[in-house]
Symmetry: C2
Subunit: 133 residues, 2 copies
DNA sequence: ATGCACCCTGTAGTCACTACAGGGTCAAGG
DNA sequence: CCTTGACCCTGTAGTGACTACAGGGTGCAT
């Protein structure tokens, strides 16, 4: 399996696959006579794991930890749970922030009568000291 | 007003104020005899505008556009409205993504019995091909 | 033999800052 | 007058997670 097929199979860019190798998430594969990377099913599994983790919003560092835990099958699952719960808490905080943001934006936009900038409520809402800059 | 007081008044780091100047959001202020930056109320207004915009999630580029529009008080407010609506659409898309993410995470976490990694549902959920890497 | 798609390494760019390193300035206290 | 310490200056490099080349090599079909 060349890097191109692996990338296609996992919906990843070729450059990103090489980058995962560089930062140590993906082990260096064997090379062909022409120095092409040759991947096996193990690599496909590992890269799929990484991509799924990224899609769920885990950082690369968190995925590195999860991979290390997953490789040690005897270990208790508690640390995995801790990482996942911390991430969920993070996501929920961002969600709250964005929700507040959206409602502020909606309020600001609703007030715009679309006259001249001098009377624009959006510009005013952005100018906490009263006057636009 | 020195850069320190301006930064404090706007809840901004000193380095960030200098950075806004470098990228052209904040005009270069007068200098003291000892080469310190000296700011007036105009700068305070403009920096407040920038910070409020950032707090509402506008990109620096969007704020640059908004500032240019705000400086031209005769112009119609339509472009301001367009930028704000585009941004709101962006925020709402992110919100939907995060909502989906959070529910996926909650489901994954709920299934973890916290036994050994070999049986961990979280690791399994991250391994789309069945087996953990 | 030649075109073309694919692969290689290495570097620089993205965004919005943040963090120094290595110095200069200024006001207060001794 | 001298020192201490808080503040300021410029310039460069680092963050996260890639992305985008530049400049070259490989492999296969025509």
């Amino acid at each position: 399996m060349t890097i191109g097929s692996l990338a296609e199979a996992t919906q990843t860019r070729v450059e990103t696959v090489r980058w995962y190798e560089k930062v140590g998430l993906l082990p260096p594969p064997a090379r062909s006579s022409g120095n092409y990377r040759l991947y096996g099913p193990e690599h496909l599994r590992r890269l799929s794991f990484i991509r799924r983790g990224r899609a769920l919003g885990f950082t690369v560092e968190q995925i590195r930890d999860l991979l290390a835990l997953a490789d040690d099958r005897e270990r208790s699952c508690g640390e995995v749970d801790t990482i996942a719960r911390a991430h969920l808490a993070d996501v929920e905080r961002k969600l709250a922030d964005l929700t507040r943001l959206a409602s502020e934006l909606r309020e600001v936009i609703g007030q715009c009568g679309c006259g001249s900038v001098a009377d624009c409520r959006i510009i005013e809402a952005l100018s906490p000291l009263g006057e636009p800059a």
